[in-house]
């Protein structure tokens, strides 16, 4: 007979689990509500999700308070690890989700939002992402990754346009491959060190002086490929533009932000010790990933004729830009990653939302895609305010000061400068200049061409409601007045990253 398991509840430190449990409970509650009374309106579910996310956010705030006093918390048999990175990433995940979910309150009817399961899956997904970032146990990372990914595939497929199934299946196939790579990499590291916890792996590898270098490199290669898939780094990016095109604009914006920050945090945890162990091979490969992703995706973005695909490639390019932080690996670079991503989430969600409110159910004659550049031609004459806001987001993405993303770019390039990556800094700067061209192209269409799709400006806001306009307003204000918030944000982020030892 087994001895009774006797564990004091305090040692479990259940508090570390609260933020993830809130969205999961919320998801279950939504399902229960649907079972008890079906046919309720989407607005109910949107607001319920928003409430649970708000609770999640508050629990994160209290977690942040505890962290700044006591430092890193462990819980649930040391599986949960709540450090500064985990808290910052969860802030971004939950914050961006709160900006995203009101976008479901569209003027036109989209059939995915009529299912309560959409919102339940959405909350499950957030729970999964939160698990992913708040642990250094590779198995739990994997569980979180799969939970969130499977939910995300379904959310994309629910959009129910011709290209959505293609997108979902493509994403699923690629995601499955990435998951396979991830588990292979994890297996190799377990075989080498007998541990599934990243900090223990680091300790053991350092203790034996990276004796089995060959195996370490194989493991690193698998891990790198898995992260590259998730972060859509070139050459593992091929799914991204098609998936973005197939999903709704709002979902595409969401996908360019939240899954990536989760993957970045795991990559940061995983590669931090490897980068600092001065494995030259890894440094070269990461360098190549960064430069290739930034440059090649910029080139592809130049030749796109559809704004959404352009934004998809631009998101890849931004991910490559931020990947530089993993390569550089200093506290400043890691802080820059978070700063960049906070600012990016405002601007990028804003620009995708602008596409979302101009969504047409049926394509007008002579248009091959829903968001072709031609659709936005001469917008300043028909819908001046909308054009100005869209232009603002484009300028911010291009990195024109004083708009939000400029500060992220500034700090990121500065971190490259301070750690001696001069060439990288120059490449990053020049890539921003190349990127300027395709953002400018949309501005040129909007401000300098004659309207081609009729003089009625209402088309650009046909899908808008108060809720959507509010979200865009928040994104626009965040983009313009970012310079006020940079200092507190920077101090907060730097303190959290530094105190977590990164």
């Amino acid at each position: 007979m087994l001895a009774p398991v006797n564990i004091p509840l305090e040692s479990l430190n259940v508090m570390t689990l609260t933020p993830m449990l809130i969205p999961i409970i919320g998801a279950l509650l939504i399902l229960v509500v649907d079972v008890l009374k079906g046919g309720l309106d989407k607005s109910l579910y949107v607001v319920l999700s928003l409430l649970f996310l708000a609770m999640d956010f508050f629990s994160l705030l209290s977690g942040a308070g505890v962290f700044s006093q006591n430092g890193t918390m462990l819980g649930m048999f040391d599986v949960m690890l709540v450090d500064g990175l985990a808290i910052l990433a969860q802030f971004i995940i939950v914050g961006a989700s709160m900006l995203f979910i009101p976008l479901a309150l569209t003027h036109k009817r989209f059939h995915e939002f009529s299912y309560p399961e959409f919102f339940a899956l959405f909350l499950f997904m957030i729970g999964g992402f939160q698990f992913m970032v708040a642990t250094d146990n590779i198995i739990l990372v994997f569980v979180g990754l799969e939970t969130s990914s499977l939910a995300l595939y379904t959310l994309i497929a629910m959009h129910n346009r011709d290209k959505s199934f293609e997108a979902a299946v493509k994403y699923f196939t690629m995601g499955a491959l990435a998951a396979g790579f991830f588990s292979f990499g994890a297996m190799i590291f377990y075989a080498l060190t007998g541990s599934v916890e990243i900090h223990k792996i680091a300790l053991i590898l350092a203790a034996n002086g990276y004796a089995d270098m060959g195996y370490v490199l194989v493991g690193v290669a698998f891990m790198l490929a898995a992260f590259a898939f998730k972060l859509s780094l070139i050459p593992f990016h091929t799914w991204a533009p098609d998936v973005y095109e197939g999903s709704s604009a709002a979902m595409a914006g969401y996908m360019s932000i939240v899954p990536k920050i989760a993957a970045f945090v795991v990559a940061m945890r995983f590669f931090e010790f490897l980068v600092h162990s001065h494995i030259v091979w890894l440094e070269i490969v990461l360098y190549a990933f960064v430069v290739l992703t930034m440059t090649a995706s910029n080139m592809w973005a130049l030749v796109q004729t559809d704004v959404k695909r352009m934004l998809a490639y631009s998101s890849i390019s931004h991910a490559g830009f931020v990947m530089a932080a993993i390569l550089i690996g200093t506290t400043q670079a890691n802080s820059a990653l978070f700063l960049y991503w906070v600012l990016f989430s405002f601007t990028n969600l804003g620009s995708f939302s602008m596409l979302w409110i101009s969504r047409q159910k049926h394509l007008p004659a002579g248009q091959s895609s829903d968001h072709s550049y031609n659709k936005f031609a001469g917008m300043i004459k028909t819908a001046p305010m909308t054009a100005v806001i869209m232009g603002l987001f484009m300028l911010s993405l291009a990195g024109v000061p004083p708009f939000a993303l400029f500060w992220g770019k500034l700090y990121m390039i500065s971190s490259a400068v301070t750690s001696g990556y001069t060439i990288l800094a120059l490449i990053m700067a020049l890539n921003s200049a190349i990127a300027g061209y395709y953002y400018l192209k949309l501005i040129v269409y909007m401000f300098m061409k004659e309207p081609v799709v009729g003089t009625n400006g209402s088309m650009y806001v046909s899908n808008a409601t108060i809720a959507l306009k509010t979200i865009i307003g928040i994104a626009a204000i965040g983009t313009i007045f970012a310079f006020v918030a940079i200092n507190p944000l920077l101090e907060f982020i730097t303190a959290f990253v530094y105190n977590s030892g990164y």
């Binding site: 000061p401 390039i413 800094a425 300027g436 040129v444 940079i486 920077l490």
Partner: protein, 519 residues
Amino acid sequence: MLDHILSVLIFFPALAAVFGFMIQKESMRAYGIAASFIEFVLALVLWYAFDNHVAGMQFMESIPLIPAFGINYTLGVDGISVFIVILSAFFTFLGIASLTDTPREKNMIITLLFLQMTMVGVFAALDAIVFYTFWELSLVPMLYIIGAWGGPLRVYASIKFFLYTFAGSLVMLVGMLFMAYFYYQAAGVWSFSILDWYRLVLPENFQLWLFLAFFIGFAIKVPMFPFHTWLPYAHGQAPTIGSVILAAILLKMGTYAFVRFSLPLFPDASAYFMIPIAVLAIIMVIYTAMVAYAQKDIKQVVAYSSISHMGIIILGTFALNVEGISGSIFLMLGHGVVAGALFMLVGVIYDRRHTKLMSEFGGLAHVMPRYATIFGIMLMASVGLPLTINFVGEFLSLLGFYQQSHILTLLAGTGIIVGAIYMLAAYKKAFFGDITKEENKNLSDVNKKELFGLIPLVIVAIWLGVYPKPVLDPINNSVEAIVQLMHEKSTTALAKERIPDLTAPKVVVVKETIIEEVN
């Protein structure tokens, strides 16, 4: 209010622009004139309150923006920048007041007011990041002005303008980040303040690289010779008001930045690169003068002559002595007035004939005597006739560089003569002889609105040509401070030799040969 007058000067036009959205279309013009007039009066108040005897920064204000990263909103003007600030207020006012019928006038005026904010901001900023912010922001309104109101190739021209400058400035930004990092290493805190950077003495090899990084940003803006190809397109396609502001103010950002950043921050590198840059400047002067001579379009003639004069400004700046730098700053003002006026004059004839080809004109002096007179005066000012504004600047710039190299100065002087040839030839083709085209016989002379824009410029061009002292003195004071700073900061023998020491007693050594001759 005088404590914050620079902030007021920067943000009053921006506020006016935002409120401008509420103004009804037909009343927009009056509103624009009123707002820019208030701004101009404020700029005059700045001049009145400006202490001519102080060499350092005045009206300084500072608000921490991102103290964790050493970025502060710091403003201030000295003798070098104060007149360019006034000039930009002056030109925006004249530009809006003499604005001819423009489609979507409301958008144009709002854009011009935004542009004014960025222009004043660039010249008043004392923090590199604030400077960079306004520097980049100034591209956006200009992009819109060229792209929305320009000629047939407007989209190409505006994108070329934007991307060229944008790419150059990003390299400059990397340079600024390095500068801040070096300051951090030396002082232990981050700072982007230009005045803090002035106190930093860098080793020569660092200076050379940083100088190049800044140089790319500035040289594209000026534009210097190999980077100048965007400017003829921008001028050729831009509407009159766009060309006026571009030539009068925006190009000055580059030359101003050389004086504000490159010289005092990197004195050794400036001395090291003096000759190569002077060669580039002389190529600019001579080559563009020759290109200008071959143009058929009168606006292109003015555009190329504008690049040619920018060459003299660069030459004066890199003379690295008080005469040269003061002269180049004075020439910035002079060139602003003259080139701005010439572009306005080209706009006058374009409005009447909708062509800029010189072959379409001829004998205009018969039908438009007042126009021909004003054009003539400005043309003389442009070729640097004594007693006009450009003469002072050109003379001092060349005088300054003469102390560094006689041959190069001689070449530059030749360039100015070529400049006189093409300008006079263009004038002859357009204004003298018989009226060859039927359409030209009934052209109306300049009207009141146009005179309102042109007459003040004529007055300034002659007044400052005859009596430059009120402007030249404050410039001289500040330039002396900068040259002395450069001399003290310089570490190499070459720089010590090329940058004069102003505190050294001025003695004249009589050479032995002379003594022998006397004996």
